[in-house]
């Protein structure tokens, strides 16, 4: 336990950026610069914690404030570093995308947007670096408050309803969380995160189980576990960068992170097994994985499909933790960054499509790849990853999750992972095929012979008798109007991340951090 200013800087910088953002509201470029400065600073601070943490140090920062004997303090351990690194890496990328998005659409209230974004990321980092459950709870609720302006950004009736639903769900979850926190503190006498779980929980099983149930419900709301997932699909009314970072990465991953803390650092695998509390969570996770995957098939908008797919994918992580076995937990820890990069690519691509062409519905997809080839290629790669194809990140985490399930006490749950992956294929392949291989509804300017030849070449009989002179040139150059760089670069960065995590995962810090978590929890 070494005192360090790094966690305080990492959490404090995003919050500190809120004031300058408001002060420079009349000068957009300066205002955006504060976001990027804070993002760079937070990233450097978080990245600097990784090596010491892997060496075994625990970097702490106390605030001096405590409630009823429980201090509000920050501490970086491998699990926190993994989540914090993910959030800190994706915030600058999302900020670049946000700039492109809000300026292209000329959104109102941009200052409020960027300020709330910074506060949300700060809260997320606070959740990651919380030293005990009380601190985590404080930042968790702050996250709800900070994300509210983002969900309600549009200020339309639909947005207000969605935001009201979001707040109703998450604050109710927060109430359950508080109740569980209180009961846990009575049952165990402490709220600190201890690898392998707190001692003394088995002395009062009923109380421990009640606390467990409340904590699971509280975190489960943000982790979008059925039946408390209802806020996520309606929150898609928020602007796409918000859906991308927050509702596919920060908010939902906070819920999953909290569940991980409960299973590994508060209760621990042994207590979970003794108390027999894992079974309902396993059941709910399987239900969510499969139900979310099936519901996605009926979605009409692209973002709606992505929302249900998020619901389903998050329960991969929940199930991995709930199986309380080392390989399964490792798979879940790998899936946290893997899913984040893939899902963000998908959301960014969907947002670029909606900005550039106005298409929001799945029915508008046919032929779009002619206009936005790179964007939709990234979409296709990320979709392949979610279905579990190598060399995208989803293959590696799926591999470990299935292996982990087979080695756990409930090997049949492996079937749930494999079936859920199949459901993703059923969802995404028609979308990808429509975008790349179907004709757009109206002719968008056919450029003559070469395109006709290219089309003819795709028919079984080559489209003509005799030699087909397919010059095979880039016939569709004249139609390509790729997204603007501010939108395209983040898409490319995110998909590159997903590919790196799928090709050489051991070279990235997430791998070693996940290994460290498993080593200290399941020792």
């Amino acid at each position: 336990m070494t005192a360090s200013w790094l966690p305080a800087v990492a959490v404090g910088l995003p919050f500190a950026a809120v004031v300058p953002i408001y002060l420079s509201r009349t000068r957009p470029n300066l205002r955006e610069a504060w976001t990027f400065l804070a993002g760079a600073g937070a990233f450097v601070a978080v990245a600097a914690t990784v090596s010491p943490v892997l060496d075994g140090a625990r970097l702490t920062a106390a605030t001096g404030v405590s409630y009823l004997g429980v201090p509000l303090a920050l501490s970086v351990d491998p699990f926190g570093a993994l989540f914090g690194l993910l959030a800190a890496t994706l915030w600058p990328v999302t900020s670049l995308y946000s700039v492109g998005y809000v300026r292209r659409l000329d959104e109102h209230a941009q200052t409020r947007y960027f300020a709330a974004f910074a506060a949300s990321v700060g809260s997320t980092l606070g959740v990651a670096f919380a030293a005990n459950l009380l601190t985590l709870f404080v930042f968790y609720e702050l996250l709800t408050v900070a994300t509210y302006p983002l969900v309600v950004h549009e200020e339309s009736a639909e947005a207000r309803d969605a935001a009201a639903k979001y707040v109703a769900y998450t604050l109710s979850g927060g109430a359950a969380l508080l109740a569980g926190l209180v009961l846990l503190s009575v049952a165990a006498g402490s709220l600190s995160f201890v690898p392998g779980g707190l001692d003394g929980l088995a002395t009062d099983p009923t109380l421990a189980r009640a606390a467990f149930g409340l904590l699971i419900v509280g975190f489960g709301v943000k982790a979008a576990v059925v039946p408390v997932h209802g806020w996520l699909p309606s929150a898609m009314v928020a602007p796409t960068p918000v859906s991308g970072l927050l509702h596919a990465v920060a908010v939902v991953k906070s819920g999953a992170f909290g569940l991980g803390r409960v299973f590994m650092y508060l209760y621990g695998p042994d207590a979970v097994r003794e108390l027999g509390v894992a079974a309902p969570v396993v059941g709910a996770a399987v239900l969510t994985m499969l139900g979310g995957g099936v519901l996605a098939l009926r979605a009409e908008s692209i973002k709606g499909a992505l929302a249900y797919s998020t619901v389903s994918q998050l329960s991969y992580i929940v199930l991995g933790f709930a199986l309380a076995a080392p390989t399964a937990a490792f798979g879940a820890l790998l899936h946290i960054p893997a899913h984040a990069f893939m899902k963000i690519t998908l959301f960014f691509a969907a947002g670029a499509v909606s900005v550039e062409t106005g298409a929001k519905s799945i029915r508008k997809l046919p032929g779009l790849a002619r206009r936005l080839p790179v964007t939709l290629a990234a979409f296709a790669v990320a979709a392949a990853g979610l279905a579990g194809f190598p060399p995208v990140a989803g293959f590696v985490s799926k591999w470990y999750l299935v292996l982990g399930a087979l080695r756990s006490d409930l090997p049949l749950t492996a079937a749930a992972f494999l079936l859920a992956g199949t459901l993703k294929l059923l969802l995404f392949w028609p979308m990808v095929a429509a975008a790349f291989f179907e004709e757009p509804p109206r002719s968008i300017g056919r450029s003559g012979a070469s395109e006709a030849a290219a089309d003819a070449a795709s028919l079984p009989d080559g489209g003509a008798h005799g030699d087909v002179d397919a010059r095979g040139g880039r016939a569709l150059d004249s139609l390509v109007a790729e997204s603007s760089p501010a939108l395209l670069v983040p898409v490319a960065l995110a998909v590159a991340g997903a590919l790196l995590l799928g090709l050489v995962p051991e070279r990235l810090p997430f791998w070693d951090l996940a290994r460290a978590v498993v080593a200290e929890v399941f020792a």
Binding site: T206, T422, L426, S458, G462, H465
Partner: protein
């Protein structure tokens, strides 16, 4: 580590695919064909062993493992890949289509040279992915591509489950004695069986292969099922009677259904099922002779089956017709194509002097040597059926005079009324490239036998009994064709299991999606209703007084609820 083992050959193919996509069409195709051809001598001279051993995703892997079987399969894949690229150039594919095809063939090579299950699974998934894209690129076949993806996903799921349960049982992915017996073996074999096209799950072949661009069919026909056979041997190296008889069933049922087909590529696709049956039977018997026979047959089959699909492709491209009933008399205007057909047909029917004679003899002999009489009869019967169906193909497409066709549509041999031209230069080169080994391996079988892993112990290649069997098969087959030509001519469409699977699958998907959505909606409405009710009560308790609920009653109820909750909490805390 020698320079020859510096990288797996799949990498060469992937690079070549990029070149095809980016370079001008002619030079790109030339580079790819030459690269594939260069892989052949490379594979002949690379030393056997487990090369490039390392770690992938935290597990020990061998990305480039060479032994007798993998070398043999890799050689024929590389050779046929070169011919396929030349054919694609001549058949008017786009650069994207050829690039995807080269990537697909590269992934197949990757799977064959995998030295461990993890590498195999990775390349297996990439094969499925690239084949899906390849079929998609023939835009007329979008639904078939989707179904292909779904079938192969189901197969992958079973294979992954088998491989991971194997790892859970043994702790390693490296190839040892096949997959661990019991559940792992069952799962892995089921997953591989889908790729192989075992009866019952063979329908994806018939659904997908005849529909896309002809060059795509040519590429697809030679790879996925053969990688499946190879993988089956790795899964069950000591064989199994069940597998042997499954192979015999594939052979007999496949050839029967083939005889009943009237569309060119559909007929050939059923033949894939049938010929793969020989290989599966050999893998099932699994004596050294049987394995040699199975893989010799794989080599020959890739050669002449690709040749047949190329012939069919030229016919379709030149005449615009897929149906045998509307063709005829083409030997006059398309002599090269007809000649290639004759070579391939003689090879597939096992005529002495052509490739199939030797390898079929090996498989049939191995059944005899293992004492499996029923299997022996089934294999021989399948041979008769093969002769019958290729007699039919040759007769309808090439021999019979066009004006005497059965459904009276009369006139010229092609839909457009012109005399169709023969294969162009590139296509002819491709046909020739494949026809040469079909003859060479038949006339000088030592060329093939020397490459076989077990050196074919006990192979009596030129024994009199072989000629007798081949002669009898040919005779029976031709007589059967003459006798059955009339009735066969009246059949047009024969349904298969896909008429059951596809509607059932779609119904399952749609019904469950709708059911789950309705359940979710009901739940959501109920939850929102409860919250709404609470909200209204909380915000305006007086309103309820107006509806008849007295305030004192409301207050008493709230008090009661609060007291109950307090008692519960106190009990929990103090207990």
């Amino acid at each position: 580590m020698t320079a020859l083992a510096a990288a797996p050959p799949a990498v060469v193919f992937l690079v070549a695919a990029a070149v095809v996509r980016l370079a001008p069409r002619r030079s790109g195709h030339a580079v790819a064909a030459l690269a594939a051809a260069a892989v052949v001598p490379w594979l002949v001279s690379v030393p056997a062993g487990a090369h490039l051993a390392g770690r992938l995703y935290g597990f020990e892997v061998v990305p480039f493992g060479v032994d007798g079987v993998s070398r043999l399969v890799g050689l024929v894949f590389a050779f046929v890949a070169a011919a396929n690229v030349v054919y694609a150039y001549g058949s008017g594919t786009t650069r994207g289509q050829t690039a995807t095809a080269v990537a697909y063939m590269g992934a197949s090579l990757g799977a064959v040279f995998a030295g461990d299950w993890l590498t195999l699974v990775v390349w297996w998934e990439l094969m499925a992915l690239s084949a899906t894209i390849l079929v998609w690129q023939s835009k007329s076949a979008t639904r078939q591509a989707y179904r292909y993806a779904v079938y192969h996903q189901l197969g992958s799921v079973l294979l992954v489950a088998g491989v991971l349960t194997h790892f859970a049982a043994t702790g390693t992915f490296l190839y040892a004695d096949g997959i661990a017996a019991g559940l792992p073996r069952l799962l892995a074999a089921a997953g591989v069986a889908l790729n192989v096209g075992v009866l019952g799950v063979h329908v994806w072949l018939v659904d997908t292969y005849p529909t896309p661009h002809v060059a795509t069919s040519v590429v697809l026909c030679g790879f996925t099922t053969k990688v499946g056979v190879y993988a089956l041997h790795r899964v069950v190296p000591e064989g199994s009677l069940v597998v042997a008889y499954l192979g015999a069933a594939m052979l007999v049922v496949g050839v029967t259904l083939a005889v009943l087909q009237t569309k060119l590529r559909r007929l050939l696709t059923y033949h894939i099922v049938s010929q793969v049956g020989y290989m599966v039977a050999g893998v099932g018997v699994a004596s050294a002779l049987a394995v040699d026979g199975a893989f010799a047959h794989l080599v020959n089959n890739v050669l002449y089956k690709t040749l047949l699909f190329m012939v069919a492709g030229v016919l379709v491209l030149r005449t615009g017709e897929e149906s045998l009933k509307r063709l005829g008399g083409l030997w006059r205007t398309m002599p090269t194509t007809a000649g290639a057909f004759v070579v391939a047909a003689l090879a597939i029917t096992g005529t002495p002097g052509f490739a199939g004679f030797v390898s079929k003899g090996l498989v049939v002999d191995s059944a005899d040597a293992a004492g499996l009489e029923v299997l022996w009869w089934l294999l021989v019967a399948g041979g008769v059926g093969t002769v019958l169906s290729f007699a039919k193909f040759g007769y309808y497409a090439f021999l019979r005079a066009p004006s005497s066709d059965d459904d009276g549509s009369g006139g010229e041999a092609s839909a457009s009324g012109e005399r169709p031209r023969d294969a162009n230069r590139a296509q002819t080169l491709a046909l020739a490239l494949l026809a040469v080994p079909c003859v060479a391996f038949g006339v000088a079988p030592e060329l093939l036998l020397s490459l076989l892993p077990g050196n074919a112990p006990g192979a009596k290649v030129f024994a009199l009994s072989q000629f007798e069997k081949a002669g009898a098969t040919l005779l029976f087959g031709l007589v059967a064709f003459a006798a059955l030509r009339g009735p066969l001519g009246r059949i047009s469409h024969v349904p298969d299991l896909d008429a059951v699977y596809h509607p059932a699958g779609a119904a399952l998907r749609d019904r469950s999606a709708t059911a789950v959505r309705n359940a979710a909606r009901t739940f959501d409405r109920a939850a929102v209703g409860v919250v709404e009710r609470c909200r209204r009560v909380a915000l305006a308790p007086h309103a309820f007084a107006a509806v008849g609920v007295r305030e004192s009653t409301l207050g008493r109820t709230v008090l009661l609820v609060a007291l109950t909750a307090a008692v519960a909490v106190a009990t929990l805390v103090l207990a």
